[in-house]
Amino acid sequence: MTSNVSRWALLSLMLLLVPFGASAEWGALNMPQGVTEISNEVYTLHMRIFYICCAIGAAVFGVMIYSMFAHRKSKGVKPATFHESTTVEIVWTVVPLVILIAMAIPAARVLIKMEDFSDSEMSIKVTAYQWRWQYEYMDSGVSFYSQLEPSHNEARQMGSDVDLEATFSPSRKRGDSEGGVYLKEVDNELVIPVGKKIRFLHTAADVIHSWWVPDLAVKKDAIPGFINENWALIEEPGVYHGKCAELCGRGHGFMPIVVRAVPQEEFDIWVAEKQLAMASVSEQADRQWAHQELVSVGEKVYQANCMSCHQAEGQGIPGMFPAIGGSDVATGSIDKHIDTVMNGIDGSMMSQFSEVLSDADLAAVITFQRNAFGNNTGDTLQPSHIKSLRNGVDIRAPESVALLPDTNTTTGVN
């Protein structure tokens, strides 16, 4: 009979709650408490409004369910005839209002605190690209790109036979051969000192992205042509993971963020090392490279920067990303090829790599493309050539990208 249907169904609905309740790691199901004062306040606020909502739910559903059992026709009750009561209606308009005010006051307080950008001690400009982050330390001149760790990038390609569970299980630390948490590791971490109020300046070069690190309770959109401010003050050293949180195209799911908070002294050492490394990169451009060296470095650069679109075997995706193997550009005039990679193609997803990659990396990847995937041109492109081009070619600083008329208007009748 139908009532049996209902009873059976109600029972199984309740059984459903068992896995929810039995789940061992409640912590993994809730908002992280985070490691800053703000994140803790947000967490507290979240829990408070959550409990209030639960209480409201319990009250409303309680009355409803009681009524459903007590006031049913099968029990022989006669329906009452009342259908309005001004008093009751005023009560249930005012009481929710009061509850809302009780929620709004602490919320406003936290919000005001979050929006206080004054007295920051250090600024980092974060520029979002499809699909990587650029971090520029405004005080020390350190600047680098950060993107999904290549081994993860490989594993996440369609048809890759990497065993995710074995390679990237949450328990594996980064540095165990490959490891790290799947899709959460980057090649270059953002390193910041603890105990300092750090101001982030967010912008983007192509489309809107959003820089989100849950443990810091910061999420701010990176909007091309505009700068949004944001700040964090971390007390505890540690590694905090985040993600791009605004749909930004094909690679949106693959734009992780890693923030490593370290003591000041460690940070200073890191900065010094970075500055040294940057200097040596520019030296690299001046020496003669061997063909094979370029190809093998180029392969790595390709995997890190180009593969997400042009694919592992250089076959591209028909209708979306052209193949590199057999491409007119990669087998034709090398100048055209260099121009394509350095300056990108206006109005397409092929962005300019001149600022993203060093002279050596550019030369390497171009050499690689011209000698891989069946492109047997035999060409060798020296980094010094790129370096000399940099002065002549119209190379845009990443900041100014957004200034240019044609970046956002894309193809078509202009």
């Binding site: 967010h202 912008t203 042509g225 505009f226 949004n228 401010e229 900041e399 200034l403």
Partner: protein
């Protein structure tokens, strides 16, 4: 079939709607292909447009015929009125989107790019758009479309304002005439309105030519050019529509379709005309004057 005598008129066998759907389908499909230089885009665009216009004449013609035949009760008339009223309201909201864009650009994004206002505005200007000062009219920090001269309010725009305002007056005079049952003056005032409308359009074209050739003011001239041409352009399109409708009404008037009591087609056209008028006032104030 219900007729005015027994109740609300419910037509049967509506054939024009499907024609309209097919027409618009071809039109939109063609337009989209055309924008992408696709095959037959342009052809489809014009064929679709032709079918749609054919549909409008057919449909409105049918309604006119039914109206002449006395099929419509006052209640049907009221439905038409409500329909027209809220259609105009929806048009108002369409323009509101573009006015909204204008206000937003002028009060928020423009100053923000120029470093004014709180939050990240200062850094936006200092880091991304060094040296850019915001002044309206603006084509942005990228100087998109190159230097241009904004359109002044004196001259053509002012003349156009006066033209359109007086066309509102002639339109009202036409209304008074028909209500008093004076057919001749009605037609004359109507034709005067239409004429003013077409002169307005002529001058508007003149203004565009002037903008493109002498002022270097183009659709591509940054946000100023974008808002200027889209607002005035859509308005101009509506003026054209309104004038054509009024012209059709005038022709129908010559064929003696209207009486002192029954002239809703004219009234609908007149409402539309006044709406176009009011939008222009908004344009004149916010696009040209300030």
């Amino acid at each position: 079939m219900s007729t005015a005598a027994t109740g609300y008129y419910v037509p049967h066998d509506a054939r024009w709607p499907i024609v309209g759907s097919i027409g618009l389908f071809i039109f939109f499909f063609g337009f989209a292909s055309w924008l992408n230089d696709g095959a037959f885009g342009k052809e489809m665009f014009f064929i679709g447009m032709a079918i749609t216009i054919f549909m409008m004449f057919g449909w409105f013609g049918l309604v006119a015929k039914e109206s002449e035949a006395g099929t419509y009760s006052p209640q049907v008339d009221a439905s038409f009125r409500l329909c027209m009223m809220w259609f105009i309201f929806s048009e108002v909201m369409f323009f509101a989107a573009f006015f909204g864009a204008l206000f937003y650009a002028r009060t928020f994004s423009g100053p923000w790019l120029g470093g004014l206002g709180g939050g990240g505005a200062e850094m936006t200007n200092a880091v991304l758009h060094t040296g850019h000062d915001y002044v309206w009219p603006s084509n942005g920090p990228g100087d998109v479309g190159g230097k241009f001269v904004p359109m002044g309010w004196f001259g053509l725009p002012l003349i156009n304002t006066l033209l359109l305002l007086s066309s509102g007056v002639t339109c009202t005079l036409a209304h008074h005439a028909i209500r008093a049952g004076h057919r001749k003056p009605f037609i004359l005032w109507l034709l005067a309105t239409v004429t003013l409308g077409f002169i307005f359009m002529g001058l508007q074209i003149e203004e565009y030519i002037h903008a493109y050739s002498a002022l270097n003011l183009k659709l591509t001239s940054g946000i100023y050019g974008s808002t200027f041409f889209l607002l005035t352009g859509f308005h101009g399109f509506h003026v054209t529509m309104g004038a054509v409708i009024l012209l059709v009404v005038a022709i129908r008037a010559m064929r003696n379709h209207f009486s002192a009591e029954n002239h809703f087609a004219f009234e609908a056209a007149a409402w539309y005309w006044h709406f176009v008028d009011v939008v222009w006032l908004g344009l004149f104030i916010f696009v040209y004057l300030f």
